[in-house]
Amino acid sequence: MDYSKQIQEIASKLFAENKIDYFVGYKQNSFDDSQVPFLITDPAEIPKLVFTNRSVFNLANYLKPDHTKRKRVGLVVKGCDSRALNLMLTESQVKRENVYIIGICCEGVLNEKGEKAQNCVECVMPDPVVYDEIIGTPSGKKEYTVNADIKELALMALNERADYFENIFENCIRCNACRHSCPLCYCAKCCIDQETSTLYHGANTSSGAMHALMTWSLHLAGRCVDCRNCEKACPSHLPLHLLHKQNESVIYENFQQHLAGMEKDDRGAFYKYSLSDPDDFIL
């Protein structure tokens, strides 16, 4: 899956026609053979643009105002990235006329060990759901499967599972990399950022970490597209996907098989309701 040439051509054309101020793509990492995000304003940097199956980061993150300052942006998105972008458009974070979207029909990305990433194995939508130009051949929507790790955890005894999660929360250092790399976390005053809110234990304690991560995951519920930016950004390598996938599976099962960002103008699962939502757990 090497689309570097096509992307460089499109970027040159966009700059030449003065349609964009920033182009967001990938460039080669200087430490290993993966790619990292690359923001360019100068067309002379275009030859550095690369796109292969090691281009993992969800670039929709760079549409937040402090990165591209609400200017016109051309960017490259894969299937899951485009779902996040779709949600950002619906939630009025980006103006559609300010974005030129190059959609890639993704064949899955590889992790550092060279294996296909777990979220790519369980992918439901490899094709871009919103685009101005499309590269690759669409393969259509795939069937939803429940994440293997949460199925395993659900079978553990309650206090064993609690020990496992307590260990995870103890290792969180409250760096906020997860929240800063998530495209859907765009609140200017985030409630779990310790500087903007004292609700969440300004100190880096493990109970504070539990409170912050659980709340973050519930605020993202019904909007998370499983791009794994958060997990890859975490310096402590915490398995954050467990919380998000758990919410996703409950939502899929109970709320008309809702998956985030699939349709145009689709908002998250918590922005709509049905008169027949399950009610039997309520006294």
Binding site: A154, L158, S207
Partner: protein, 162 residues
């Protein structure tokens, strides 16, 4: 697969931490978050009708059950509460038309996630209580208090003690 809650030698065992026990006369602290228009008025009616219900519940009034953000529940459980009860208007009767419809979606996902990270599923409970249902409110509080009393004191994920 939940752990069986045992009553060993007249003591109550904490459901999430089998090593922690409490004496048989231990009383739980329950945080109650009630919506202003139905449940809070309903609890008022329980009081004026002189119906007795357990005093373990501490009530907070919110305008609507959809005001309840999941972090209210988590923060209560992290500080002194052993359980949480959230109550709102019956579906179709919300003062703000559709607040409780949105709320019940959020409640289900929150409950399942809390169970997933290690709280017993009965620690957080929800109810629909209307302004005319004085006796029902008393029954709900009695049921929730009894459930949580069986589960024992909550020790998991508590804020660091001083």
């Amino acid at each position: 697969m939940e752990t069986e809650v045992k009553e060993a030698q007249g003591k109550i065992v904490s459901a999430e931490n089998p090593g922690i026990t409490a004496p048989a006369d231990w009383q739980p602290v329950i945080m109650g978050i009630l919506c202003n228009w139905c449940s809070y008025a309903g609890s008022d009616l329980t009081g004026t009708s002189r119906i007795q219900y357990p005093p373990n519940i501490r009530i907070i009034r919110v305008p609507c059950s959809s005001r309840v953000d999941p972090w209210f529940i988590i923060k209560s459980l992290q500080t002194t509460a052993d359980g949480v009860l959230i109550s709102g208007c019956h579906p179709g009767d919300c003062h703000y038309i559709s607040g409780n419809y949105y709320a019940r979606r959020r409640f289900l996902v929150t409950k399942k996630l809390l169970n997933f990270v290690g709280y017993h599923e009965n620690r957080v409970q929800f109810s629909w209580v209307s302004a005319a249902e004085g006796p029902k409110f008393a029954k709900v509080v009695a049921k929730v208090t009894a459930d949580i009393k069986k589960l024992g004191p909550l020790y998991r994920y508590k804020k660091e003690n001083f």
